[in-house]
C-alpha cells in the first residue's frame, strides 16, 4: 500500500468508528453529560459552598477540570474497548485483518474514534459546566494538549482491554474495579495536599493524578504536580501502550488462532 492508500484506509476506519458512536449518541454522548451535570449540582452547588475554598478557588471551580477529565477518560476508554471487542465478537475485525491495511493504521483508526468521543463528551461537559460557573482559562495550550494526551492514552488502554476480553463481562471489569477507583482517587475532588504523608506518596503511583493536575493547571494555574512530570508520565505511558498494542495486533492475540 502506498501512503495515499494508507491514508484512505485510516480515514475509513476513523470515520466508521466515529459514526458508530454518533449513531447511538443517546447511549454514548448523553449519559456522561447528564451524570456530570449531577456532579455539578450535588458536589458543586449543594455541598461545595459548605466545603469552602480548595487551593484558593471555590470548590465548584476546583472540581470542574477534574470532572471534565473524568468524562474524557471513561468515554475514550469505553469507546475503544466496546468497539474493538464488538468487532471481535461479530468477527468483522476480520475485514481489516485480511486486507493489506497495516496494523498501525488499524490501531490509529480505533484510537481516533476513542479520542473523538472523549473530546466530544469533554466539550459537552464543559458547556454544561458554564451553567454553574464561568470558564476560567489559565493556559489553553496546556488544557488542549493534556486532554488530547489523556484521550489517546485511555483509548490505547481500552484497545488492550478489548484485545484480551473474551466476554462482555471482561470489558466492564477493568473500568469498574481499576479505572473508576483510580479516577476518583486521582485528585478530582480534592488536592492531595489534604492527605496524610503516606497517602500523598501513594497517590503519586496513580497516573491519573498527573493528568488531572496538569489539566487543572490549564484552567486555574495550580497543580500538585510539576507540569514536566505530568507530560513525561503521560507521553511515556502512551509510548509504552502504543508499542504493546501494536505487538498484540501484529501477533493477532485474541484475533488469530
Amino acid at each position: 500500500m502506498n501512503n495515499r492508500e494508507k491514508l484512505v484506509a485510516f480515514q475509513t476506519i476513523a470515520t466508521k468508528e466515529i459514526l458508530r458512536f454518533a449513531r447511538i449518541w443517546v447511549q454514548t454522548v448523553l449519559p456522561p453529560v447528564i451524570t456530570t451535570a449531577l456532579y455539578f449540582i450535588i458536589f458543586g452547588n449543594l455541598i461545595g459552598p459548605r466545603i469552602g475554598e480548595m487551593e484558593g478557588f471555590g470548590y465548584m471551580e476546583f472540581i470542574i477540570p477534574g470532572l471534565i477529565m473524568m468524562a474524557v477518560i471513561t468515554n475514550s476508554y469505553a469507546n475503544v474497548v466496546s468497539s474493538f471487542y464488538g468487532s471481535k465478537f461479530q468477527r468483522h475485525i476480520e475485514e481489516m485483518v485480511i486486507s493489506p491495511t497495516p496494523n498501525y493504521i488499524i490501531l490509529l483508526g480505533f484510537i481516533t474514534g476513542g479520542v473523538a468521543r472523549g473530546l466530544i463528551v469533554g466539550i459537552a461537559v464543559t458547556v454544561v459546566s458554564l451553567l454553574f460557573n464561568p470558564l476560567n482559562v489559565h493556559s489553553l495550550p496546556v488544557m488542549f494538549s493534556m486532554i488530547l494526551l489523556t484521550a489517546i492514552l485511555f483509548s490505547l488502554a481500552g484497545l488492550i482491554n478489548g484485545v484480551y476480553a473474551n466476554s462482555f463481562d471482561d470489558i466492564s471489569i477493568i473500568p469498574t474495579f481499576v479505572l473508576t477507583p483510580l479516577t476518583y482517587l486521582g485528585g478530582i475532588f480534592y488536592s492531595i495536599s489534604l492527605l496524610p504523608d503516606f497517602w500523598q506518596t501513594a497517590s503519586l503511583a496513580n497516573p491519573i493524578l498527573y493528568m488531572v493536575n496538569a489539566f487543572r493547571y490549564g484552567f486555574l494555574g495550580v497543580s500538585d504536580i510539576s507540569l514536566v512530570t505530568s507530560y513525561a508520565i503521560s507521553i511515556g505511558f502512551i509510548i509504552i501502550l502504543y508499542l504493546f498494542s501494536l505487538h498484540l495486533l501484529r501477533t493477532g492475540h485474541g484475533i488469530r488462532t
Binding site: M1, A9, Q90, E95, S99
Partner: protein
C-alpha cells in the same frame, strides 16, 4: 506461468495439540475454478484461514500470484478476496457501508468505493436493500452481501467457503451464474462446498483433503472418469412384489414401484430396458441415485481412512 495460489508443505497444529494440516501442497492456476473438498474437520477452513491471514500457520509457505504471504503480506493480500463460511460483517451498518468500508481497507477512495459498491450490489440484486441494516437482511441476502464485499476491491483470486450453505435453490443457481461470469472475466475462484453437485457443475479442478492430508488433486473430468459403476432409480408403472430376475444387471426393489439398478460405466442402458420389457415392466421415469461426484468422494474418503487405519 505463476500460480494464482501456491501452497507448499502447509502445516498447522492448534494449541492443545490437534494437528489440522500435515503438510499440504497444491497449486491453483490463474483463471481456474477450483474446488477444495473434504468432510467436516478435514482442514479446508484451516487452509483458507491461513491463506487469508486469519490463522497462523505452523509451517510451510503460501504464495499468491508469486508473492509470499509471509514476505510480502500487503502485496499478496491485495490479490485476495474472501467469502467466509460464517457472517462476519458489522450487523449494525447499512449494507452499502459494509461494502464501501471494505474497499477503504484496500485504499480505494470513498467516491470510487461507493461507485463499486453500487455496481456489485446491483449485480447481486441487493441495491434496493443498500440502506437496510445488515442484520435485517435475509440469510441469502447476507451471503450475497459477503460476495459483494469480497469483490469490491476486484481481487484476482476469490475464495468462497461454502457460499451457498442454507441458500434456496433459486438463489443458488443465480449465484452459480454470477460466479461463472466473474470466472469467465478472469477471476480465479477457489470454492469449498458440501454440495458436490455444485463442485461438479462449476469447477474444472478438484482437490480433496481428509484428516489434514491431500488425497486427490486432479481435473473434475478425470476424477469422474474413474467411476466404474453408476446407480439409477427407475420408477415403474406397476407395483412389484420382488425385483425381476436379471442375469446382466443387479436389481433391487426399493419400494413396490421403484427399482434400483447398477450399470457398469460404458455399458448400454438399452439392454436393461429390453430385459425389463420382457418381464412386462414399463419404466416411467429414471434418475441417478447419487450424485456421481458424491459417490467418488465417499469412495476416496473411505478408502483414505482405511489405508490410514492400516498404516
Amino acid at each position: 506461468m505463476t500460480a494464482a495460489l501456491s501452497i507448499r508443505d502447509l502445516r498447522k497444529t492448534y494449541k492443545g495439540g490437534h494437528v489440522a494440516l500435515k503438510g499440504v501442497s497444491f497449486d491453483v492456476n490463474p483463471g481456474d475454478f477450483f474446488a477444495l473438498l473434504g468432510p467436516n474437520g478435514a482442514g479446508k477452513t484451516t487452509i483458507i484461514g491461513i491463506i487469508s491471514s486469519l490463522i497462523n500457520k505452523s509451517g510451510g509457505t503460501v504464495s499468491i500470484f508469486g508473492h509470499d504471504l509471509a514476505e510480502e503480506p500487503a502485496v499478496a493480500k491485495a490479490f485476495l478476496g474472501l467469502v467466509p463460511q460464517e457472517f462476519n460483517f458489522n450487523m449494525f451498518e447499512p449494507a452499502i457501508e459494509v461494502v464501501a468500508n471494505q474497499a477503504g481497507y484496500y485504499g480505494i477512495p470513498r467516491a470510487e468505493a461507493f461507485r463499486r459498491a453500487e455496481k456489485y450490489l446491483k449485480h447481486l440484486d441487493l441495491w434496493d436493500k443498500r440502506r437496510m441494516m445488515a442484520r435485517n437482511l435475509s440469510g441469502g441476502m447476507k451471503r450475497r452481501l459477503m460476495i459483494a464485499r469480497a469483490l469490491v476491491h476486484e481481487p484476482r483470486l476469490l475464495i468462497l467457503d461454502e457460499p451457498t450453505a442454507g441458500v434456496d435453490i433459486e438463489i443458488r443457481r443465480s449465484m452459480w451464474k454470477f460466479l461463472r461470469e466473474i470466472n469467465a472475466a478472469g477471476t480465479t475462484i477457489i470454492l469449498t462446498t458440501h454440495y458436490l453437485e455444485e463442485a461438479e457443475s462449476l469447477c474444472r479442478n478438484i482437490a480433496i483433503i481428509d484428516e489434514g492430508e491431500l488425497i486427490e488433486n486432479t481435473s473434475t473430468k478425470q476424477l469422474l472418469n474413474t467411476l466404474h459403476m453408476e446407480t439409477f432409480l427407475l420408477d415403474v408403472d406397476t407395483a412389484l412384489d420382488s425385483p425381476p430376475k436379471s442375469e446382466s444387471h443387479t436389481l433391487k426393489l426399493v419400494d413396490p414401484t421403484t427399482l434400483e439398478a447398477e450399470i457398469c460405466r460404458g455399458e448400454s442402458i438399452n439392454s436393461l430396458f429390453t430385459e425389463l420389457s420382457q418381464h412386462g415392466i414399463r419404466v416411467v421415469s429414471m434418475r441417478n441415485k447419487t450424485n456421481r461426484l458424491e459417490e467418488l468422494f465417499m469412495n476416496l474418503v473411505e478408502n483414505g481412512a482405511g489405508s490410514r487405519g492400516q498404516a
